[in-house]
Structure formats: C-alpha cells, structure tokens
C-alpha cells in the first residue's frame, strides 16, 4: 500500500508534518495524495447522509486492516461522538472524521528516534522469526550514516542458518564493520561489538538477535540475559542511562492481532522503546498499530517499504492513516 511512498520518496521526505502551518493536515494530506496520483478514491464522494450502513462500511475497513475488534469499537464510538459534537451529517465528511479519530490515537506514537544522545548509542533489534530484523538493520545503517553517524553492526543471531552471512552482506553494502564470531553466544558477540565500538569511537551500534516466539520461554530468558550483558558493558552513569539505549521491536505488517501479544511479551521481557513496522509495501495495512496504540502504546520509529537499502521511512501518522483508509470498499 505504500507503493506511492516508494516511488515518490523525495516528496515524502519533504512532506510537511501536521500542525506546523495554518492549513489543516487533512487539506495538506489530500493535496499531497493528489500529487502522488492517489486521490482519496472514497466511497463517500457519492454524497448522501450519514447512516448505519456507512458506519458498517467504515467498520469493515478497520477490521480488514487488522485494527482488531477492541480498537475498532473504540474508534467507532469516538467517531459517533465526534459526529454528534460537530453536528456532521454529510456522508462525505465521515471518512475525514474517522481520519481525525485515528490521528488522535496514532499521532502520539510518531516520535522519531534520536541516536546521537550517547556514544556509542546501542540499539538492540528484537522480534519474532522472519519479521525483518536483519533487513531493517541494513536500512538503519544507511539511515544513520546519512545523518553523519558512524555505525557498527553486531551479528547476534547465532541460531538461524547463515544469519551471520546475511548481516555481513548488509555490512558490505553499507561499508560498515560487522562483528561476528563462530561461537553460539549472542551475548558474547554483542559484548565484543560494543567494546570495539567504544575503542573506535563509533556512534551507533546495532545488534541483531535471533527471531523468537514469546511462547519459547527459554529463548525469552536468553534475550533478557543478552540485555543484562549489554548493560554491563555500558552501565548507567551520572549523565547517561545504561545500554541498550533503544530496544527496537520489529513487527511484520502482515501480522494480525498477534502483534499485540508480541508487543506485550517483548515489552515485559525487555522494555521495548520503539517499534519498526515492516513490509508495508505489500497489501497489508498494518492496522494492528491502532490496536497497539490503544492497548499498549510504544513509539513507532520507522516503517519498512521494501527490501532495498533505502526502503525505510520515519513513521508519519498522517501518511499511515491515509494509506489505511484509502482502499476500495
């Protein structure tokens, strides 16, 4: 669904963020979308009055985007309240009103990641199998380098076949050092990497880890240990908290309601500080982010929109919502 972002990356990068200028974000959003040739081809342009059928259609959009029953019901309740308060009656106004309700929910999650607050700034990537951790690391390396920060990668997935080689390739593509070992101990590799980054005055260390399902208790214990070891290399000081400075949970946009369980489980185990939502270049909408925003909010730092080095975007709530609602009924 984010194909329009992909093709118009320059435009996206300069897309104005809301509330800065006088015009409402909806107006700017609409014109922005028109520019990308993606009109809000909405079912409400046909006019008429707001009725239950329209609410049903909106409910369908939300449910089929993986927003989930709870968040959908809450959003629709909020929407009805909004419609009453603003005395809306035109069908054409309803979708914009829903976008408004969604924005209230999602805007607080759009907090960018600041990686220049400590040196080295240590990021730990976690998530279930196949979510896109390693690929996102490749893209992040590029992202930070383009901000003028030096990067070092740690091959902490010591389980999956050729996971190390996969990360090493991303290291080569970015021309950054990858610390890897033959050993099967993730904590040891990452420990090494951080020490080496300290010695070389590297700005950002990104540690890969093996995918794991929250039901695998022993693996969840293992990753807690990895975090403890990281905090031992860079303990808390007077002016900085212990490493890791960011625990990024990677979520696949194709995931349904289980994403919420993933957020809860990984947060409970590790204290997740940010999310990356991958594979938004497909047809999946990633609406489960709305469920997460409601039940267990954590900042969404980036979205993934492809398999290439440049296919990483900051999470912009307005764009995300536009893509969510812009679908054939």
């Amino acid at each position: 669904m984010f194909s329009f972002l992909k093709k118009n990356s320059s435009e996206t990068a300069t897309a104005p963020t809301a509330e800065k200028s006088g015009t409402s974000w909806i107006v700017r959003l609409k014109s922005g979308l028109a520019r990308t040739g993606n009109q809000l081809s909405d079912l409400f342009s046909r006019g008429g009055m707001i009725d239950d059928e329209l609410y049903d259609e909106l409910e369908t959009i939300l449910i089929t985007s993986d927003v989930g029953m709870d968040a959908t019901n809450a959003l629709l309740a909020d929407l009805r309240r909004h419609v009453r308060e603003h005395k809306l009656s035109e069908a054409s106004e309803l979708k914009a009103a829903l976008a408004h309700c969604l924005l209230k929910l999602l805007k607080p999650l759009a907090i960018p990641l600041q990686a220049d607050t400590h040196q080295p700034f240590v990021i730990m990537m976690v998530g279930v199998n196949g979510a896109g951790k390693t690929t996102s690391i490749g893209k992040l390396a590029k992202h930070f380098q383009s901000q003028g920060l030096s990067v070092l990668l740690a091959a902490g997935d010591t389980f999956r076949a050729a996971a190390r080689e996969q990360l090493i390739t991303w290291g080569e593509r970015n021309n950054v050092t990858v610390i890897a070992q033959q050993s099967g101990d993730a904590a040891a590799v990452i420990f090494d990497a951080i020490q080496s980054a300290q010695a070389r005055k590297i700005d950002v260390v990104i540690a890969d880890t093996a995918g794991r399902l929250a039901t695998q208790t022993h693996l969840m214990e293992e990753i807690k240990k990895v975090k403890r070891v990281i905090s031992k290399v860079m303990p808390e000081t007077a002016n900085s908290p212990a490493a890791p400075h960011e625990v990024l949970l990677v979520l696949d946009a194709n995931t349904g309601q289980n994403a919420l369980s993933q957020v809860k489980a990984f947060d409970q185990a590790l204290g997740v500080t940010g999310l990356v939502l991958t594979k938004l270049d497909g047809t999946a909408k990633g609406g489960v982010i709305a469920a997460i925003a409601k039940a267990h909010p954590i900042p969404v730092r980036f979205i993934g929109v492809g398999e290439g080095l440049d296919d990483l975007r900051p999470f912009v709530a307005e764009e995300f919502i536009a893509a969510l609602l812009d679908q054939p009924a």
Partner: protein, 450 residues
C-alpha cells in the same frame, strides 16, 4: 495457538446452556460470539461472514436430538462446519510421478519457505526413504542460498549449489537435470519471498512453475498472518496452480485464523504445519484435530499418536497395569514415567496438546524439562531396594543420594514429595473418575512442575 478462540467458544456454550432449544434469536447471540471469536482469531472478514452463514443454515435445520442440550448441539454444528472448512481429512503429498517429483515452494517474505524446504527434505528421507535434492532459487535475499546450503549440510541432504549471478530459471532447470541424472526421487525448489502485487516477481515464479512442472506447489504462510491472508492467498492461488498449503510458526500463540482464510480462499488443503524452528518441527495437518482444538477438546488424538510413536508399548502396558491396581507404584515406575515423558517430547510439547484451560494452568505452574532430568539423576543414584521401597529413604540415605546426584538434600525431599503426590494421583485414577479426573489433577502434580 487457537486457545483464545477456544475460550470464546466456551463462553458461547455457557450462554446457550439452560436454553430450552435453538431459536432464531438465541442462535443469533451465539453466532455473534462465533463471528467475534473468529475475527479476534484473525480469520478474514469475508470468510467469517461465509462461515457464520453456513453455521446458521446448518444449525437451523438441526433438530436437537436425544440428551444433547442446545449448547452442545450448536457447538457440534460449529465443530462440523469448522472441520469441513478446514478440509475434513489430511491430504498427504502426492509424489506419484516418474521421478524426480518436483516440489515448488512459494510465499511472502519471511513466511518460512527455506526452513520448511529443509524440514520437508528430512521428513521425506526419514519417513519415506526418498532420495531428496534441495536447491535455492533465491538470488535476491542476502545469504539465502547459504541458508539452505547450511541446512542441507546439517541434515545431510544433497544440495545443488547455485549462485546469485545466475537466473532463477536457469538454476531450477539445471537442478532438475542434475536430479534426473543422479536418480533423485524428489527435488525441492526453494524460492525468494515475494509480494503478491510485485508483478515482475510473480511472473518469475510462474515461469519457474512452467519450466519445472512441479507435482506439488506449496504455498507457505505464517500462522500469525492477519486479514490480508485472503488477498495474498488469492493472488498466489491465481498466479500458480497450488496443490497445498503449509502453515508455519504454529508453536507461537497466534490464534491461527489464517488457516481458515487461506483454506477458504484457495480451496487447497493445508498439508503440513510448522511447529518449531528445528528440522523435525513439521507435522501433518489434521483438520478434525484442529477443529477439536478450536473447540477446547484438546488435541487428544495427536497426543495419542505421539505417545504411540515415542513410548515403549510394553513398558506402558506394565505401567498401566500397576496404575489400574493402584498398588506397587514405586520409584522405578516414577522414573519410567519420566523417561516416557521425555520420549514424548518433554513436558512442554505435551502440554501444548492439552485443552486450553488445562495447559494454561500447567504453564502457570512453571513446567520445566530440566527439572525432569534432575529428578531422573536423583533416582539413578538410588539403590534398587530404595527405588522399590521408597519409605526406607531416611536422612542418611538422603544425604548419600544427594551427593551421588550432585544435588542438595532439599531436592531429594522434593522428589519424594512429588513421588508421593503422583502415587496418590495414580490411586485416585484407578478408583474411578478416569481420564478426565487424572487430567484435571495432572497439571499440579506432574513431576517437574512447581
């Protein structure tokens, strides 16, 4: 995995309990619960709608006979329809063709194609004595070929080496040629993950299909997939003549509704499920069992089958006799029980197969495979006399046993206590109440649980 659905549906039964008969209105409520439960379980909306309509039709035409109550009758209908939707029986792979039989793997990025290719190769070799060749046509994802090469080496399966400078089509045809010349029975072709809307990549896999003429084309899909499963499955189903589906990562806690969506949209049977990252984590899919599991009956059938595979039948019979008599269950039997449990894949694998509430109770009480091996160690350092007459074990014997097993006396005490509990459970089992009662009591009393 589908346990949350199970819980919802338990609610449905409860709500219908006490109703005299199925009426249009009380079925309405139950149907809404079913719809909600399925949506929460990530079954795609259009599939939920179709399913609810089917259930309604079947239920309304249904007379409540005999001593079934309406709740049971309704659940019966849901169960039957769910089973029907999931495909009624297990479809095995069809490899009946002049070798090499080609299996083509297809699916989204990260679904589990490569891992499943390895698992499938192992399964076909171990269970059907097939000579298998693995090849990767994934020239895109970094180290994708290396991943399959590593897996093949680990499993000692033949691997046809390819390189990212080659075209997928060329790799595939060369591998096919190689398989023919080297008398392989099966060629498994791993492919790169692709989005259904990526036209170039979909054209590529169509071309692969045309060149390879696979007898099996398997769509690999992640059990955590949400609503978009219908769109993806539809697109892959239209691009390729799929012959089956593999549902991966069912060892997680995803509710697994994608199973229903994909099955409904493609009309193709789910042939296997992935239940672990390890090479032996591939199992045949059993629709009826899945439906039972959905409905909270637990996967008793799988459990039984697994027990048969892993457990020494004679030993088990001996144990059963003792259990029946309620007499003479000693530490030798206790130990054997643990050994059997280990053969069946450890406590955690076992628990997974039990009904929702029971396994939840059990997980809450912290199951621990390691604790089992410790218990075994302790029993091993006892004399035969002590094992058959545990009441002899007093302070000095306890110290000796603890030393021999490298544990603390405390642990020996713990073991003896667990033994006593198991013993009394066994007695209870023999007195009546049978299986259900034992299951109820098992959660707290299996050795290794605290």
């Amino acid at each position: 995995m589908l346990d949350n659905l199970t819980q919802r549906l338990s609610g449905v039964i409860k709500n219908l309990r006490g109703q005299a008969r199925l009426t249009e209105s009380n079925i309405q409520d139950a149907l809404r619960e079913v719809r909600m439960a399925l949506l929460e379980a990530d079954v795609a909306l259009p599939v939920v709608k179709d399913f609810a309509a089917q259930v309604k039709q079947a239920a309304m035409g249904q007379e409540v006979i005999g001593n079934l109550n309406p709740g049971q009758a309704f659940i019966g209908v849901v169960h039957r329809e769910l089973t029907k939707l999931m495909g009624e029986h297990n479809d095995a792979l069809n490899l009946a063709i002049t070798p090499p039989a080609v299996i083509l793997m297809a699916g989204l990025q990260g679904a589990g194609k490569t891992t499943t290719s390895g698992k499938l190769a192992k399964l076909l070799r171990d269970q059907q004595k097939k000579k298998v060749l693995l090849v990767s046509c994934d020239v895109y994802r970094p180290a994708a070929i290396e991943q399959l090469r590593t897996l093949a080496a680990q499993l000692e399966i033949d691997f046809y080496a390819s390189d990212i400078s080659q075209k997928p089509q060329d790799i595939a045809l060369a591998a096919l040629d190689y398989a023919r010349k080297h008398y392989h029975d099966v060629l498994i072709v791993d492919t790169a993950g692709r989005l259904a809307i990526d036209e170039a990549m979909m054209a590529e896999i169509k071309q692969l299909h045309a060149g390879l003429k696979p007898i099996e084309t398997l769509f690999v899909v992640d059990a955590m997939t949400g609503q978009d499963a219908v769109n993806t499955a539809k697109a892959f189903g239209e691009a390729l003549p799929l012959t089956g589906v593999v549902l991966t990562k069912l060892d997680g806690d995803a509710r697994g509704g994608a199973a229903l969506s994909v099955r409904h949209v493609t009309g193709k049977p789910i042939k296997f499920i992935g239940v672990s990252e390890k090479p032996n984590g591939l199992e045949p899919f059993h629709p009826e069992r899945m439906a039972s599991r959905v409905l909270g009956m637990g996967d008793v059938l799988s459990l039984l089958e697994e027990a048969q595979r892993g457990v020494d039948v004679q030993e088990a019979e001996k144990l059963a006799k003792k259990v029946k008599s309620g007499q003479g269950f000693d530490l030798n039997d206790f130990k054997m029980q643990m050994v059997q449990m280990r053969k069946m894949g450890g406590v955690s694998a076992l628990l997974d197969k039990l009904p929702a509430q029971l396994s939840k109770a059990a997980t809450d009480s912290k199951v621990d495979d390691k604790a089992i091996s410790r218990l075994e160690g302790i029993i091993n350092s006892m004399t035969p006399l002590e094992r058959s007459k545990p009441e002899l074990i007093k302070a000095s014997r306890k110290r000796r046993i603890a030393m021999g097993a490298g544990v603390q006396v405390m642990h020996v005490n713990q073991l003896l206590k667990q033994f006593e509990q198991t013993q009394s459970m066994m007695k209870m089992f023999s007195k009546g109440g049978g299986m259900a009662k034992m299951m109820r009591n098992m959660a707290g009393k299996i050795p290794g649980m605290r």
